[in-house]
């Protein structure tokens, strides 16, 4: 299975009438309600909204982690609903970079090994080249000096940089980050947001769920969710968006 999808003309992400409902002891909860949107290559999209507005669910659905109750998700021209579990796993490993709030680095692998892990799982890089690739990515996120340390010996900001390097390991078309700065101090948070902005500027599509107001300084677009529906969608830096669309 080769799920490394080439950049296709058109949006990187397109959703149509996307809905997601959960059953819970207190009844059915609608997390997403007929969300339709498109995201172009190189955009840095901030998804904002109050708790329970459906931000994380949207991210999960885009990553193929959650299956929508209704509607369609197309990423890089691939309709995720058509992929089976194993195909979805392989596709996600090669095309999506995930960044979590609590970093989720594997504690018994060094920082470099954490970065190399997706390369091994997806066999995207020959084994002998993986260490070099990992070091290059760590340099890109500014923590090459920490490559051989275990995650527990890094600060929160450094761990999140390592997690971003890991998310970039297979050169994904899209990076999905769920409150990646929520567990960091403001200085580290700003550095991470700037890093995402640089990635987007370099052509990687970034979708980031956040509560931070300062995101407006970095993102090119802001999608506001309320009660699972798109309550607002605005361009923050039109120039940046135009340049992204031109990529």
């Amino acid at each position: 299975m080769a799920f490394r999808t080439d950049p296709a003309p058109g949006p990187v992400v397109a959703t149509r009438g996307l809905s997601k409902a959960y059953s819970s002891p207190s009844g059915t909860v609608t997390a997403l309600d007929a969300v339709t949107l498109t995201i172009e290559r190189g955009e840095f999209v901030a998804v904002v909204g109050p708790s329970g507005s459906g931000k994380t669910t949207l991210l999960n659905v885009l990553a193929g982690i959650d299956v929508p109750t209704a509607g369609e998700v197309i990423v890089q021209g691939i309709a995720l609903a058509r992929l089976g579990d194993a195909e979805l796993t392989a596709w996600r490993g090669r095309n999506v970079g995930l960044v979590f709030q609590f970093f989720q680095l594997l504690p018994t692998l060094t920082v470099a090994e954490n970065v190399m892990l997706p390369m091994e799982f997806c066999a995207t890089v020959p084994p002998r080249e993986r260490a070099g690739c990992a070091r290059m990515l760590l340099e890109r996120v500014g923590i090459a000096g920490q490559a051989d340390k275990f995650p527990a010996f890094l600060s929160g900001g450094q761990q999140q940089r390592a997690a971003i390097a890991r998310a970039l390991a297979n050169d994904p078309a899209i990076v999905l980050a769920d409150e990646p700065t929520g567990n960091l101090d403001s200085k580290s948070g700003d550095a991470i947001r700037a890093l995402f902005a640089d990635l987007a500027a370099a052509g990687t599509t970034v979708v980031m769920v956040t509560h931070e107001h300062s995101i407006a300084r970095y993102a090119t677009r802001e999608i506001a969710l309320a009660d699972g529906a798109v309550a607002g969608d605005r361009v923050l830096h039109p120039a940046a968006r135009e340049s992204a669309a031109a990529c």
Partner: protein, 809 residues
């Protein structure tokens, strides 16, 4: 060399969890070592018991030739087809008088000095063979058991007070007899010259043959019987009387069944222990996976498929199993050798080699590696097949919310009383699946612990029951049947005798039309023998529990009651209510089988009335057995009575074969049950160790999983002591639930073991004995073990700092 990151992760995870991994390795290693020890000892013993027994070149059959046979008979036997070799021997009985005055039965195996000892031989360990006319050699187990030494002189009695002093010329090892410690008798080896000196007829009345062909001795009993019948018929045709053929089970030591039962039992438990150890691994891996759920989710999010993640954790299970097996190998060999040496000592077997066959290692390695991995498959498959979302948002980790199950809901309503107990109880029922697994593991090991002790008690009860049927103090056997009136007159003159009862007993056979009678009796005359015994129907001296039909009545001249050994060993087709033919010295009489009795401690015996006995013997009014009740019932009173009886009968010129206080029977019976009881004791200890490992690991896993919870508790004011108390109480609750499970399981398990061991070793099911004290002690041991096993987890929980606990993800 590039090592895959997934493998590196697994290795480092194992190192990070070294405490729990060590516990898993320990539990599996104990069970694998147990399996290896049993397999190894069994292989050693099976090989060595054959080497020992076969090295004696045991006779395939012994033809009884009353009055003694001449060299002519030997030549005839050797000329018959299917006879590889033949020899003339005899056996005789006497009593050894020990330094403390105690008399012990001596079974003398007699061979002519000219006998090349190619058949039924022995190995001389000290001294030389043939012994001189005033000498005998003793089996080494007899020397050891009765505290005798080569070179010393000892008095032998052949009747009453007539004694001869003979010299113990040396020691032999006879691999064909059971050790004196188990039988309570001594084995001597002498030439006919000694018999003459003792005033006995020196005739050689046993013709021993080895039946076989160019391929060696026959191992098929039918072929042996055919050859023995042919030899007997040929001898009879030349006018030589042949009254009986003894053809014991070919190439099987008299106690082979006991040995096989002991090792079979060990094997069963060892396999169960391995399964329990494997369940333990599965439980711990399942718990470890729960802790690593987020990591699994992350790996899947990074592109790892179900198969990749499953492979990683299967590798972990395999690594633990391989390490445990490696740890177990050397101890298992040492334990196999030790076990083999202990059992060999009990059976009087010389171990020529302690080598454990390679096949044992192969089986041990396969069992040690494959069983745990196979058992871990289900929890691994379940744990690694969770979705990324379940892993990331923690739903798989926490499982169903507490309170959704009825039991949890009920416990939630309990709001009064001890808070520690309430919390611990709720924690215990938090994961019902894990609770079930832990209780199953601990309950099973507890049940085996209780059942092992219960079955050992059952064996003791068999011995006690066997003794309780003997309601007399001294058993006297005459060397031949005597006139009843003179025996009764003699007994009446013995002082300190409160009551006595006479009877008669003789070696019997189940006849087959036109054939010489065949028994399955071993050369020691005891194992595999079949006797007919006349008893008074209203006897108060022997009370045997009926298992079928009825006991004898006064007017029963044609009735017979079999003890529990007759049908399985001698008369396979006999049914209560049907006619059976029994022969005494070639005279056949038919009886109706009216009942069967349980009769532990005696050989296969057919009980008849005196008139019934006379129908077969043709000699009414004869006795050969006296059961005596003495005025005092202690050892001294019985010994005094024995001495008085011996003196009195000597004065009357009546020759005694033996006069034995009943205490000696108990020694012999205990000797037979000892091996199995010790085996079960060893099993109980191993089970307890596995159980403690199981509980310890369950508690340890629970503590690790709830690290954050403990941090929260500490942050809101709980002391280290309070946190530790919750963990200890959880352990005790696991112990309590497991104790109930163990008790419930132990009942059917004990019944099963009682039946299996009883039927294998004694041909009678053991009585079900589960004394409340055993249950109470086992439960107390279980609670103590639970407290001990939870202590490590409690200390770990108490040592957690709030910062570390809250930082755990």
């Amino acid at each position: 060399m590039l090592i895959p990151l997934s493998a590196r992760k697994i290795v480092r995870d194992l190192i990070a969890m070294r405490g729990r991994v060590a516990m898993m390795i320990g539990a599996i290693a104990v069970s694998v070592a147990a399996v290896g020890a049993v397999l190894g000892s069994r292989a050693i013993l099976e090989r060595e018991i054959r080497v020992n027994y076969i090295s004696t070149n045991p006779a395939s059959a012994t033809l009884h030739v009353p009055g003694g046979a001449k060299a002519d008979a030997l030549r005839i036997a050797r000329s018959r087809p299917g006879v590889l070799d033949a020899a003339l021997r005899t056996r005789s009985g006497a009593r050894m008088v020990l330094a403390n005055g105690r008399r012990v039965p001596l079974l003398l195996f007699v061979a002519p000095a000219s006998d090349p000892m190619r058949i039924a031989g022995f190995r001389v360990e000290r001294g030389h063979w043939p012994a001189a006319g005033d000498e005998l050699l003793l089996e080494r187990s007899s020397l050891a058991y009765f505290g005798l030494h080569a070179g010393e002189r000892i008095a032998l009695e052949t009747s009453g007070a007539r004694t001869w002093t003979v010299r113990i010329a040396g020691a032999v090892h006879d691999g064909a007899v059971s050790p004196s410690s188990q039988e309570g008798i001594a084995y001597g080896y002498a030439t006919p010259a000694l018999l003459s000196r003792l005033g006995k007829a020196p005739g050689l009345d046993e013709l021993k043959i080895v039946a076989g062909d160019a391929n060696g001795a026959f191992t098929n009993v039918r072929r042996i019987d055919a050859v023995a019948q042919d030899v007997g018929t040929a001898l009879r045709a030349r006018g030589v009387a042949v009254t009986r053929i003894d053809a014991p089970p070919p190439l099987r030591h008299p106690h082979q069944a006991q040995m096989e039962t002991a090792t079979g039992l060990l094997m069963t438990f060892a396999v169960l222990t391995l399964l329990l150890g494997a369940i333990l691994i599965a439980t711990m891996l399942g718990s470890m996976l729960t802790q690593q759920i987020r990591q699994i989710g992350v790996m899947k999010a990074l592109g790892a498929g179900d198969g990749t993640v499953f492979g990683m954790y299967a590798l972990m299970a395999a690594a633990i199993a391989v390490a445990a097996t490696a740890v177990a190998l050397v101890p298992s060999v040492l334990a196999a050798r030790y076990l083999a040496a202990v059992v060999a000592g009990l059976f009087g077997i010389d171990l020529t080699s302690l080598d454990v066959p390679w096949s044992v290692f192969a089986v041990e390695i396969a069992a040690g590696v494959l069983v745990p991995v196979a058992v871990a498959y289900a929890p691994l498959a379940r744990g690694t097949s969770i979705t990324v979302r379940e892993a990331i948002d923690g739903t798989a980790r926490s499982g169903a919310a507490f309170g959704t199950l009825r039991l949890q809901s009920l416990l939630g309503r309990w709001n009064t009383g001890n808070r520690t107990l309430r919390l611990a109880l709720r924690n215990v029922v938090r994961h019902p699946g894990r609770l079930a697994l832990v209780v199953m593991l601990l309950g099973a090991s507890g049940a085996m612990f209780v059942s092992a002790i219960g079955t050992a008690n059952g064996m003791q009860a068999v011995v006690d029951e066997g003794m309780s049927h003997r309601r007399y103090d001294v058993a006297v056997n005459l060397s031949r049947a005597e006139d009843a009136a003179s025996v009764i007159r003699t007994m009446n003159a013995v002082p300190d005798v409160q009551a006595f009862e006479t009877g008669i007993t003789a070696s019997a056979t189940i006849p087959h039309d036109g054939a010489i009678d065949v028994t399955r009796t071993y050369p020691d005359g005891g194992h595999g023998s079949f006797t007919m015994t006349a008893v008074r129907p209203d006897t108060a001296f022997v009370q045997l529990p009926l298992t079928q039909g009825r006991w004898l009545r006064g007017d029963d001249a044609n009735a017979v009651v079999f003890n529990h050994l007759v049908i399985p060993q001698q008369a396979h087709d006999a049914r209560v209510g049907e006619l059976v033919a029994i022969a005494l010295n070639g005279r056949v009489a038919r009886y109706r089988l009216v009942g069967t009795v349980s009769d532990f401690g005696n050989p296969a015996t057919a009980y008849v009335t005196e008139s019934g006995f006379a129908r077969a013997s043709g000699e009414p009014g004869r006795v050969s057995q006296i059961r005596v009740v003495t005025r005092g019932h202690d050892g001294a009173a019985r010994a005094a009575a024995v001495a008085a009886i011996q003196r009195r009968f000597a004065d009357e010129g009546i020759v005694l074969r033996s006069a034995t206080p009943v205490g000696q029977f108990r020694l012999a019976l205990n000797g037979h049950a000892l091996v199995l009881a010790q085996t079960l004791g060893a099993i109980a200890v191993v089970m307890a160790i596995v159980g403690i490992f199981g509980l310890g690991s369950a508690i340890g896993s629970g503590v690790l999983e709830r690290t954050r919870e403990f941090g929260i508790m500490r942050s809101i004011g709980a002391s280290s002591r309070a946190v530790a108390a919750i963990v200890v109480v959880e352990g005790l609750l696991y112990g309590a639930l497991s104790a109930v499970a163990a008790l419930l399981l132990s009942i059917p398990l004990t019944l099963m073991l009682d039946r299996f061991i009883g039927m294998q070793a004694f041909l009678v099911p053991l009585p079900f004995v589960l004394p409340p004290a055993v249950v109470a002690i086992s439960t107390a041991v279980g609670f103590a073990a639970a407290a001990l096993a939870s202590l490590a987890g409690a200390l770990a929980a108490a040592r957690l700092t709030i910062r570390d606990a809250l930082a755990a993800v």
